[in-house]
């Protein structure tokens, strides 16, 4: 007895769902995750991968079946059936994708809001050196001190680092310790806030392991705040075409535990600032 088509279709559907779920959960295409929200982004990606694999496999299977099963046999000059439409079917394949897509939208909005992407920047200004504050007094919307966008948890207590991009390097300034380096060091497990400025053209600050990227735009400071949660060295990559050496515009971020980080800060802090309060205390 031949197996009824509906049973075959059902079995194929179940198989398809299982395969795509398995692929989404078990095939890892991302680099290691080293920031708090990276895992959430990866979870979103897994959902997208599952849906995508299911859809692609399903459509490919239909295409292949059509090509094999409905190919024109030699000598057959008849037409196929004159089917011009099928309203319930059309409503189905409009409604289901629409619902899936809206659900995806809500899901990723939720993730993005938790990352700090929906933060309100109207009252948030970067911390300019005092002279600049003087100059911009009475003009709170001075474009150089307004934050134009980015990702910000607005927690206010994050450890600040000023990042300056220029052709073709990133430079990092630690405002509280007042020193500048070419290598970014970040404390493990502690929220940080990068304040990004560019001196010339648009660059983009990207650390794949953090799953974070932010354009660095001349005249429009942006912020990026996050918490690194895995010790190690990672590449900082410029992602926006910025000139002939764009491909070589890279730097390093070192995530280290708070002890080594404090030591590193002290090692790099200029003697005048670092030792003055210290010596007065011991004296």
């Amino acid at each position: 007895m031949p197996i009824p088509a509906s049973v075959l279709t059902l079995a194929a559907g179940i198989l398809l769902a299982l395969v795509s779920l398995w692929v989404g959960q078990n095939i890892n295409l991302m680099p290691v995750a080293a920031a708090d929200d990276a895992a959430t982004v990866d979870a979103l990606f897994k959902v997208l991968l599952s849906i995508g694999v299911g859809l692609l496999l399903g459509i490919t299977a239909m295409l292949v079946v059509a090509l094999v099963h409905f190919r024109r046999r030699p000598g057959d000059h008849l037409d196929g059936p004159a089917v011009e439409g099928n309203l319930p079917l059309e409503i189905f394949w409009t409604a289901v994708p629409a619902i899936v897509i809206l659900m995806l939208g809500v899901y990723s909005y939720d993730i993005y809001a938790r990352m700090g992407g929906m933060a309100d920047f109207n009252h948030h200004t970067s911390m300019p050196p005092p002279e600049v504050e003087q100059a911009s007094l009475g003009n709170p919307a001075d474009p150089e001190t307004v934050i134009w966008g980015g990702i910000d948890r607005a927690e206010g207590m994050a450890f600040p680092v000023e990042v300056t991009a220029m052709q073709f390097a990133f430079i990092f300034h630690y405002p509280q310790q007042n020193f500048t380096t070419g290598e970014l060091h970040l404390p493990l497990g502690q929220p940080v806030e990068l304040q990004l400025k560019s001196n010339d053209v648009i660059h983009a600050f990207w650390v794949p392991e953090f799953r974070l990227k932010q354009d660095v735009i001349p005249g429009q400071p942006t912020v990026l705040s996050f918490t690194a949660n895995r010790q190690g060295d990672y590449d900082i990559i410029c992602a926006e075409l910025c000139g002939p050496y764009h491909g070589g515009m890279r730097s390093k971020v070192v995530v280290e535990d708070s002890r080594s980080f404090e030591e590193w800060l002290i090692r790099n802090t200029p003697a005048t600032v670092a030792t003055a309060p210290d010596s007065s205390q011991t004296a």
Partner: protein, 544 residues
């Protein structure tokens, strides 16, 4: 066949007013630039075989990259899907003897070769533009001015040509329809061209405005987009993408239309869901105009904008999806002729669905923040533009070459071309998704050594793609000269371009224009034939 009515060969090199000649002029010119752009792509892939920047100088690499993108978009895809097939087919479909404004049509075409050669010339006089096809300031203001200015002038010319063409299509479709032919009786390609032309007319002037302001920043020292002079660099991005997102639909909607013409004929079934196809075109046109900032999720755009553009972008996948389900339903239970035209269409469906899926993923901001400006995006849009639109262009050439030339193309070479293209394309671009996810940014001449193997695989795919054009070129040249005569209607089609000789006479039909009110009248239900309808199939079997 009436010999007097044949087009003399020299007409193809002159200021012809015949829409069929102009269409073929667009096609051949576009294909020439495809070969140029393809050569540039080959140079990019050779540079990326090794992690070091060792094949060409770094600034040359950026020039090659910029020329490649600009040529492929503005001199190959847009002119061919709109100019070539639009001009060739739309007058047939509306039952007209030519376009509404034949002279404007010829002017629009003749803007193309000068613009193309102007663009190429910049490489030899001081170097081509180096800021990518997107030309973001301040980079485009600070790189050498001559190349960037020539780039702007060339793109302005091409945009102008595109607007002239669009005005002509709108007028032809709305005003030149044969009496008795209603809008909802038109072949789907006309609707696609109508929607596309509306996008061109609404969006292209915005690009022109942005480029004129940019050129003033470059030559006159104004500060519209130059932060050093108080300008705003991000505003340029808004203006640019206000055109350039619709531009992706300007490239793909006509291709959708072509697929809707080709599939029913080779599947011997009516186009499934005619009305819903039209509504989804209209939906895409509307939504296509309000999604542009999804290219700017990391540009410091305000949060509400990211929310709005995420939702709008994701929703556009719904009307797009409808079209694919309709095509699958058209194939289902058909009598599929597995010829080159149909196989290229199936390749298109696979590739485009793939690119659409990565597109929906890219619309999710948290994910896009990671992969924006990486090879993942490069892979996405090549799946759409190359795997999608270019595959359709080839399907269309296999389908309409017999009409244009009167001779059939060789099917063995055609299927070989299809197979090599499909393999080469997927080997070239599939691995690039992984590169982007794992940390390789786009537009770089050097990269981390861990990515070398995958880049080499991708370059092998590119080599295969280059090889795949050989059977095609041989086929076209050989068949145009020696191919088997096609006859008037080799595919037993219903639409009006097939109800005349191959190639058609100057006036398209020697008699009155046929009235086809059911362009997809295939299928084996024997219903009473309306008196006014000319059935292509029966005309064909009656030997016309």
């Amino acid at each position: 066949m009436d010999v007097q009515h044949h087009t003399p060969w020299h007409e193809y090199f002159g200021f012809s007013l015949d829409h069929k000649v102009i269409g073929i002029q667009y096609l051949v010119t576009g294909f020439f630039f495809y070969l140029v752009g393809g050569t540039l792509a080959g140079m990019i892939r050779v540079e990326l075989v090794t992690p070091l920047s060792d094949f060409m100088a770094r600034d040359t690499y950026n020039q090659v990259l910029t020329l490649h993108g600009t040529i492929m978009i503005f001199l190959w895809i847009v002119p061919v899907v709109n100019g070539a097939f639009g001009n060739y087919l739309v007058p047939f479909y509306v039952g007209a003897r030519d376009m509404a404004f034949p002279r404007l049509n010829a002017v629009a075409f003749w803007m193309l070769p000068p613009a193309g050669f102007l663009l190429l010339s910049s490489y030899f006089i001081g170097g081509a533009a180096q800021s990518g096809w997107t030309a973001y300031p301040p980079l485009s203001i600070t790189t050498p001015a001559v190349g960037q200015m020539i780039w702007i002038m060339s793109v302005l010319l091409l945009g102008g040509s595109s607007i002239f063409g669009a005005v002509n299509f709108i007028a032809t479709i709305l005003k030149l329809r044969r009496p008795g032919l209603g809008l909802f009786q038109l072949p789907m390609f006309c609707w696609a061209m109508l929607g596309t032309s509306v996008l061109v007319v609404l969006a292209t002037p915005v690009l022109a405005g942005a480029l004129i302001l940019l050129s003033m920043d470059i030559v006159a020292g104004t500060g519209f987009f130059n932060p050093a002079l108080g300008g705003n660099a991000v505003v340029y991005q808004h203006l640019f993408w206000f055109y350039s997102h619709p531009a992706v639909y300007i490239m793909v909607l006509p291709a959708f239309g072509l697929v809707s013409e080709i599939l029913p004929i080779h599947a011997r079934k009516p186009l499934f869901g005619y009305r819903s196809m039209i509504y989804s075109i209209l939906g895409i046109v509307f939504l296509g105009l309000i999604v542009w900032a999804h290219h700017m999720f990391t540009s410091g755009t305000p949060p509400w904008m990211r929310l709005f553009f995420t939702i709008a972008t994701a929703i556009i996948a719904v009307p797009t999806g409808i079209k694919f389900f309709n095509w699958l339903a058209t194939l289902w239970q058909g009598k599929l002729a597995l010829n080159s035209a149909l196989l290229f269409c199936c390749g298109f469906i696979f590739n485009f669905v793939f690119g659409g899926i990565t597109g929906v993923a890219l619309a999710q901001v948290p994910f896009d923040v990671h992969v924006h400006d990486t090879y993942f995006v490069v892979a996405h849009f090549h799946y759409i533009v190359f795997g999608g639109t270019v595959f359709v262009i080839f399907a269309a050439i296999y389908h309409w070459f017999p009409k244009m030339s009167g001779r059939l193309l060789n099917e063995h070479l055609g299927r070989l071309h299809c197979l090599l293209s499909f393999l080469g394309f997927n080997i070239c671009f599939f691995p690039q998704h992984w590169l982007g996810l794992n940390g390789m940014p786009r537009r770089v001449a050097e990269y981390d050594p861990q990515f070398q193997l995958i880049n080499q695989i991708s370059s092998v795919g590119a080599l295969l793609l280059a090889i795949s054009t050989l059977p095609f070129l041989i086929n076209v040249v050989w068949s145009a000269w020696k191919g088997a005569p096609a006859g008037d209607n080799p595919w037993r089609a219903c639409t009006t371009e097939w109800l005349t000789s191959s190639p058609p006479p100057v006036e398209n039909w020697l008699r009155e224009a046929p009235l086809v009110t059911e362009p997809y009248d295939y299928g084996s239900v024997e219903d009473a034939m309306p008196v006014t309808t000319v059935r292509g199939r029966e005309l064909w079997s009656a030997g016309r």
